[in-house]
């Protein structure tokens, strides 16, 4: 097992290196440079500006500087938001996104598992049908449509929740619900299938034959086995929440990183785009790594060489 974890860590590091290099290569290939749209600079000034940002050096040297800077947490300065470093900007938006993401994850896992188990235990009955219809709808309606409809119905027509911003806890209801919908639907389906499969197993029949109460059978024998595949879904879930944040934060006007990212794209703020991309990617890879390691620790049946 130790060897497996070591291999996972190494492959995560390789992935992070690959991501950073890919980002660098892509950003180097953007047509023009950050200073092309300014008024035409005289060659001397241009030279001085290039020297200041290290753009006059050979590409490989720039790459080395970029890698060492990023390793030490120096993400450079924003091109468009004068006087702010990329790191400061990211740190200012991160708390909002983290808050929404964490609550959404909790909501998805609790809600999705509950819905899935309920559907599986009442297979082909009304509960099951209801959950399956909900989950089909949840998986097919894009989050930005859902978010806009939510805003229109609950803020405009009913006036239950405030529309934009992050003032009170009520502001977070919409974003959390809308960002969760897709994953909630998926997880409910996954849990249902998994529980149905476990219910067929011999050890469940044994447990029933022993005369255990239905509650113990489900709680102790079914759930503990059925939830193992659910854990593997957490990685992709975090990725979807992350990309979901781009549109959800835009619709609900939340100053999180998703919003920063989309606005930095529209402003062509290259250092900020680069910083946020790397930040997101590394964050995701590390989280998935942690989930994978937890998975190994939880499931004793799997032997990793």
């Amino acid at each position: 097992m130790g060897r497996y974890i070591f291999k996972r860590v190494v492959s995560a590091i390789v992935t992070i290196w690959f991501i950073m290099t890919l980002t660098f290569v892509l950003m180097m290939n953007i047509p023009g440079d950050p200073f092309t749209e300014d008024k035409v600079l005289s060659p001397e000034i241009k030279q001085a500006v290039y020297a200041k940002y290290g753009l006059d050096k050979p590409v490989f040297e720039q790459y080395i500087t970029y890698m060492t800077n990023y390793m030490t947490g120096d993400f450079g300065v924003s091109f468009k938001k004068v006087g702010l470093t990329t790191k400061e900007i990211i740190l200012s938006g991160f708390p909002y996104s983290l808050k929404i993401g964490a609550w959404a994850s909790l909501f998805i896992i609790v809600g999705g598992v509950a819905m899935g188990v309920a559907a599986a235990l009442r297979q082909n009955r009304l509960t099951d049908r209801g959950v399956m219809i909900l989950s089909t709808l949840g998986a097919t309606i894009p989050s930005f449509v859902l978010a806009s409809v939510f805003l229109y119905v609950f803020s405009k027509q009913l006036g239950w929740v405030p529309s934009f911003g992050v003032g009170t806890w009520k502001h977070y209801i919409g974003p959390i619900l809308c960002i969760s919908a897709f994953n909630l639907a998926f997880l409910a389906r996954l849990t249902r299938t998994s529980v149905l499969e476990v219910l067929q197993q011999d050890y469940i029949r044994t447990a029933r034959a022993k005369g255990l109460s239905e509650f113990t059978v489900v709680g102790k024998h079914v759930l503990r086995n059925a939830l193992i595949p659910v854990i593997t879904y957490i990685g992709p879930m975090i990725a979807t929440i992350l990309t979901g944040s781009f549109v959800i934060e835009k619709v609900f006007g939340i100053p999180g990183i998703g919003q920063l990212f989309t606005s930095s794209i529209l402003n062509r703020d290259y250092t900020l785009i680069m910083g946020i991309t790397v930040f997101f990617a590394v964050f995701l890879v590390v989280l998935v790594l942690i989930v994978d390691i937890i998975y190994v620790l939880i499931d004793p049946r799997i032997k990793y060489d």
């Binding site: 930005f144 229109y152 405009k156 006036g159 405030p162 549109v247 794209i265 062509r268 990617a281 998935v288």
Partner: protein
């Protein structure tokens, strides 16, 4: 040598019925015929398939016959909803007053005629004065404006005083009449609601016909969906085919590459590609293709691994068939089932990602329209012109639903494990 003697009875002709014993009663079905028969029994899948065909047909043909082009602007008729409250101004003349307090002359049945001539826009008294064939029309929106400023005041105070119920106040504001219309000094009420006959889904903020824009959006979205699925299919078959066929070290290395690409958050990199490359339809398809082929490659590899040891491959090999021929003529046709399911699932994914990109502002550029960019355009005026979001949102949701349900149906129909 007794047993060599053949009884003459054995040379007699059989009865007619006995001859039929060896006959196959039903015509034998090919795999695809069988799958099609099973798909046809699945009502949900058939309805989805019909829906998808209808969407494709209308996306292809409606723009040729519709009387308005997707980029035609009539600024006088901007932001006109699909359903109009019209006022009778006498002599069987009707006007519609927009949310921006512009008066537009309409037919009794809802055809837009022209914008009324503006006599005076009195911003201080919040009234507009229009002229229509000699009669003067006044649009007075001061009442609503007062209610609105009262609400704004309340909102300011609510920041310090949590006891103020803003939701209720907002509701009150919403129920205030938006404007008062009077003709030659006589106040008139909206006489009836009619459907907008000129623009059946209304117009957007530049006075473009929303219906044809939604249809045009369908063209773009479906094009992106099918093109991305096709490119993914080609790359996936080559990559997965080579990886699975050669196996061993080649397979190992190629699958490691897949693993690495898999662990990258793809949407993030699609976005980055879009930033780097010139915006446009081709770029979207390219960006989607670069990142989304891995799933298809895995499926093909798995299938090839399972099939390459079978006799028909050996037979083809001994006949001297080349790798492309074995792959294309022998292996791929045998794994069309899982591939078709994967493609049906990939099309809505691509449509979704395109809509997502356009919504973020990275997709196709104006005046072209896709469902994502239409939703994005509608977002700014969501509270005032909700219909602008409604139609593209319905279009995209219905399409996604249809593809997903068809995919489910196909999987059930093509899954050989369920064959009886």
């Amino acid at each position: 040598m007794d047993h060599n003697k053949i009884d003459s009875d054995m040379w007699k002709a059989l009865d007619e019925e006995e001859k039929d014993a060896e006959k196959v009663a039903r015509p034998s079905l090919t795999y695809m015929q069988d799958a099609w028969r099973r798909l046809r029994k699945n009502k949900v899948a058939v309805v989805s398939l019909v829906g998808i065909i209808l969407i494709i047909l209308s996306a292809v043909f409606v723009p040729f016959v519709w009387h308005i082009g997707y980029s035609e602007q009539v600024l006088d008729f901007s932001n006109i909803p699909p359903v109009l409250d019209i006022y009778n101004v006498g002599d069987d003349k009707y006007i519609y007053v927009t949310k921006e307090y512009k008066a537009i002359q309409v037919d009794a049945d809802g055809t837009l005629l022209k914008k009324c001539t503006v006599l005076k826009e009195d911003v201080n008294n919040r009234t507009c004065l229009y002229e229509l064939d000699g009669s003067q029309i006044t649009v007075d929106y001061s009442l609503y404006f007062k209610a609105k400023s009262k609400y704004a005041d309340l909102e300011r105070r609510a920041q310090n005083d949590p006891s103020i119920n803003l939701g209720e106040a907002l509701h009150e504001l919403e129920s205030t009449k938006k404007c008062e219309v009077s003709v030659d000094g006589r106040v008139v009420e909206p006489e009836k609601q009619v459907r907008n006959k000129t623009y059946i889904m209304g117009t957007d903020y530049l006075g473009r016909d929303l219906f044809i824009r939604v249809i045009h959006g369908a063209r773009i979205s479906l094009l992106v969906g099918f093109a991305a699925a096709l490119v993914n299919f080609v790359i996936g078959v080559f990559y997965g085919g080579i990886s699975g066929y050669f196996g061993g070290r080649v397979d190992n290395v190629m699958m490691r590459i897949c693993d690495t690409i898999d662990s990258i958050p793809t949407t993030l990199y699609v976005i980055l590609f879009m930033v780097v490359l010139e915006a446009g339809l081709g770029t979207i398809i390219l960006a989607l293709s670069i990142t989304y082929w891995v799933g298809m490659a895995r499926i093909v590899r798995g299938q090839v691994l399972a099939m390459k040891e079978q006799e028909f491959v050996l037979a083809a090999l001994s006949l001297g068939a080349s790798l492309p021929r074995i792959l294309g003529r022998h292996l791929v046709p045998n794994m069309m089932g899982p591939i078709m399911v994967a493609i049906t699932m990939q099309i809505p994914n691509a449509i979704f990602t395109e809509a997502f990109l356009s919504f973020v502002g990275l997709g196709i550029s104006a005046p072209m329209a896709s469902w994502g960019s239409l939703c994005n355009d509608a977002l700014g005026g969501l509270f005032t012109y909700p219909y602008q979001l409604f139609f593209p949102a319905i279009a995209i949701s219905v399409t996604m639903l249809a593809f997903n349900l068809l995919g489910d149906g196909l999987r059930d129909a093509l899954d050989p494990k369920q064959r009886k």
